[in-house]
């Protein structure tokens, strides 16, 4: 596979994952805010904004309209939903020949559908509805990707992009919630932990495992270490390790080893992590470590397979 094509597939997938995550957080938050007091909703929105944009916003009141506009439709906000979709589509267009018609057309249609949407037009209905529909279309996109593309090297680059992005997003969300739990003011309440599960599509899978008794320690255990749930760190790390073994099949062993060593280390950290060791403030440190290791894998992936100097292989 051309290195440039691998690069575009990887980023296309990262942006799709980011868009899906953004749409889900907005949909869940718009739905759940009606059940919260103004203070609680403000604190909760602030966590969403921070996890999606990295900005620690000092919100005075939960102006859902302005926040949604910024997170969803603001072209100046690099990580807005519309920008993530635009970037995913730009990357897809550059590797049009490596995608099926179904994948391209689903993504293209979704983007074209969202471009004319204004805040005013969605605010007169149930605002969350649009984002739920976006999620449905993104699930359809995921479905056609799974069922119409060959599960070869290109598909594994998509997997890598998806799961590296997912670990980053999930990590940030957990970090923000567990760090807030250490402070006395604005500490997440029962309802906030429930919403956190919903942010990660984890509410029902969690209750199946741990019953409806919602406790931060169990949430951390589930979202960090459950190997079967697709939005857990452990699950994503497993998929990354698997994908790394399948890409660049003909690359020289030395270059492969550089990437696979890092992946093995990350997998060991997650496989042998213990939630009891993490609870007293250690969740943030653990996540910071995982995130850092993902960044190293990203860099190694690029230097081994994509941006390597031609002189090294001639």
């Amino acid at each position: 596979m051309l290195s440039r094509v691998a690069d575009s597939l990887y980023w296309m997938s990262r942006y799709i994952e980011r868009a899906e995550h953004t749409a889900r957080l907005i949909a869940v938050k718009l739905d759940s805010m009606v059940e919260q007091t103004s203070e609680d909703a403000t604190a909760s929105w602030a966590r969403v904004v921070e996890s999606l944009t990295g900005e620690k916003a000092a919100l005075l009141h939960p102006d859902a309209f302005a926040i949604t506009r910024k997170l969803a439709f603001d072209r100046d906000n690099q990580t807005s939903l519309i920008n993530s979709l635009a970037l995913a589509r730009d990357n897809a267009r550059q590797v049009r020949e490596a995608l099926s018609n179904e994948v391209w057309e689903n993504l293209n249609r979704l983007y074209l559908r969202l471009t004319p949407v204004t805040m005013e037009s969605i605010w007169i209905h149930t605002p969350a509805r649009l984002f739920r529909e976006v999620l449905e279309e993104m699930h359809a996109l995921e479905g056609v990707t799974y069922s119409t593309l060959s599960h070869g090297e290109g598909w594994y680059f998509l997997e890598l992009g998806r799961h590296i992005e997912r670990v980053q997003q999930l990590g940030r969300l957990l970090d923000i919630h567990f760090s807030a739990a250490q402070t006395s003011e604005n500490s997440p309440k029962y309802f906030d932990w429930l919403v956190l599960l919903k942010f990660c599509t984890a509410f029902e899978p969690y209750t199946k495992q741990y019953t409806a008794s919602i406790r931060p320690q169990k949430i951390a255990e589930f979202l960090l270490f459950d190997s079967e749930f697709p939005h857990s760190i452990c699950f994503s790390v497993d998929r990354m390790t698997e994908a790394l073994a399948r890409v660049a099949p003909g690359a020289p062993p030395a270059r492969r080893a550089a990437v696979e060593r890092l992946a093995g280390r990350l997998k060991a950290a997650v496989d042998f992590g213990q939630v009891d060791e993490l609870m007293s403030g250690g969740v943030a440190a653990f996540i910071a470590d995982i995130t850092k290791q993902c960044e190293q894998i990203h860099k190694a992936l690029y230097s081994s397979y994509i941006t390597y100097g031609a002189e090294t292989v001639l």
């Binding site: 596979m1 051309l2 290195s3 440039r4 691998a6 730009d90 267009r93 550059q94 049009r96 020949e97 018609n101 391209w104 057309e105 293209n108 249609r109 074209l112 090297e153 890409v247 660049a248 099949p249 003909g250 690359a251 020289p252 397979y305 994509i306 390597y308 031609a310 292989v313 001639l314």
Partner: protein, 506 residues
């Protein structure tokens, strides 16, 4: 007529059966043709007496019984389909980029089996002569020594590549992919307006148009015996394969300038349909005169490049050094015979306005045959007799400077003042070699859906010719249509669109 059961009618409306009593809709009188003007130009659908020509009869009975709203709906479904497939180009306005589709017209243009037979034979003959001509001028120059074509015209051409002199080209095939523009004159005969021998585009629109027109009129399509064109990518692949001596595991790539090029959709489309790599200049590198792509597993050799980049930009070491699209060292690899480039470099010398006028003579010279397809009548002012004729008829002719393009250095006689004609006449007299003249060209008209009815619009015809060991045309073409009433400009950059072309099997 049989009901269409298997057609994919999901987006495009119900089964397309011809129903209702036969009726006659007259152009210029009855709906939907109330504003259909029959003028001096040949009309593809209606004869001079206003009756629909035979090949259009089925189509006519279908569209004149469909309500306008239904035509509108199908037209929109076509456009929607183009939009979703990403068959668009980008327009920049107030720093905002808007994507527009290449306009497509619902109603197909029909070419009969006899007409196609002549086009096919004519264009095959023409590409043979042009390839022999290119081989000649880059080698012995026999045609120049024999005085058939003036030496100065070739060596002075900005598209002549002296780097190509004496370089062997596989099978002597310089032009492997050609898109010739034909028009139909008032008498109804197809004539050649232009040969595109460099990087002709449009073949993906031919295929995309077929895809939507077939769905818009499934039963009509099926009943008419339209010849298929879907094998074009396969034929293109076979042609590219035939250009390399390495036959095992040939590695082929389409070289594109990138995603911002207006024909990018086509480059990606062809690569995908052929199952070969789509590469940009930055994906390729040359080492020891061998071309490689950079892949995740390492470097991979490339044997044949179907390039969609102009000569000037292909290798900054040899041609334009400011080109960021090309591949440094590519030309040396080509010269060393380690890679085939299609089309070969330097083919542009054979498709400029001056050489065009010589093509009928080239056919006689190289093939000892009479041209099957005529040129548009062209007067070379460098020839005494023609010069006299041109100067005496400036009010009837279009005079063009051969080195210029895009409407510069041109006199449109019928629209110019006497003073302008006199001044231009002086220029021609002073430097006759630099000018050619043609009668004002009339393109034929074809029925085109315009929203509130069907009107006549001017069209041309661009078939695509493949030439490797064999010469092949898929039985189809891109019909470009000038969507503005009365306009003769079919270019998509200036309000032109396109429509499907149905070549009938009998």
């Amino acid at each position: 007529m049989q009901q269409e059961v298997f057609a994919n009618t999901e987006d495009f409306g119900g089964p397309d059966i011809v129903a209702g009593p036969a009726r006659v809709s007259r152009p210029g009188v009855d709906a939907p043709y109330a504003n259909y003007e029959l003028g001096k130009p040949y009309d593809e659908m209606f004869a001079r007496d206003g009756k629909a020509r035979l090949p259009y009869a089925v189509m006519d009975s279908r569209i004149s019984t469909l309500p306008l709203e239904e035509l509108n709906r199908r037209q929109q479904a076509c456009e929607q389909s183009f939009l979703h497939q990403g068959i668009t180009f980008t327009v920049y306005n107030d720093n905002k980029a808007t994507e527009r589709i290449i306009p497509t017209d619902l109603l197909p243009r029909i070419v009969t089996a006899n007409e196609w037979d002549r086009i096919e034979r004519g264009l095959t003959q023409r590409i043979h002569a042009l390839n022999l001509f290119l081989r000649d001028i880059y080698n012995d120059g026999r045609v120049l020594k024999d005085g058939v074509v003036p030496r100065s015209m070739i060596y002075g051409s900005k598209h002549y590549r002296r780097e190509m002199r004496g370089l062997p080209v596989p099978h002597g095939a310089y032009v492997n992919i050609c898109g010739s523009d034909l028009i139909r004159n008032e008498a109804g005969d197809f004539v050649v307006l232009e040969d595109n021998l460099r990087v002709p585009s449009g073949v993906s629109y031919m295929l995309a148009n077929r895809d939507v027109a077939r769905r818009a009129f499934p039963a009509v399509f099926r009943s008419m015996g339209v010849r298929p064109i879907e094998h074009y990518p396969l034929e293109l692949l076979a042609t590219l394969r035939s250009l390399t001596p390495f036959h095992e595991d040939v590695s082929i790539a389409v070289l594109t300038p990138g995603v911002f090029n207006s024909a990018y959709f086509e480059h990606a489309f062809l690569a995908r349909q052929m199952g070969v790599e789509l590469v940009e200049g930055r994906d390729l590198l040359v080492n020891d005169n061998v071309v490689y792509t950079r892949t995740t597993s390492g470097l991979k050799r490339i044997d044949v490049i179907y390039r969609r980049i102009d000569d000037d930009f292909i290798d900054p070491l040899i041609f334009r050094e400011d080109s960021a699209l090309g591949v440094p060292g590519l030309f040396n690899a080509y010269r060393a015979g380690n890679v085939t480039i299609a089309n070969a470099l330097g083919t542009g010398v054979a498709d400029d306005k001056a050489v065009y006028a010589y093509v009928p003579r080239l056919i006689r010279y190289y093939l000892a045959e009479e041209p099957i397809l005529d040129n548009v009548e062209t007067f070379l002012c460098r020839e005494e007799k023609s010069l006299k004729h041109v100067l005496a008829n400036l009010d009837k002719l279009v005079v063009k400077a051969v080195g210029e393009s895009g409407g510069y250095g041109m006199l449109v006689g019928p629209h110019a003042s006497q003073k302008e004609r006199d001044e231009f006449g002086e220029k021609v007299r002073a430097d006759p070699e630099n000018y050619i003249a043609q009668p004002t060209i009339q393109l034929s008209t074809a029925p085109t859906f315009v929203g509130n009815g069907i009107e006549a619009r001017h069209v041309d015809l661009r078939p695509f010719i493949l030439h490797g060991v064999e010469t092949k045309l898929v039985p189809g073409a891109l019909t470009r249509v000038a969507l503005k009433r009365g306009s003769l400009v079919v270019n998509s950059s200036q309000g032109g669109g396109s429509k499907d072309t149905w070549v009938l099997s009998q």
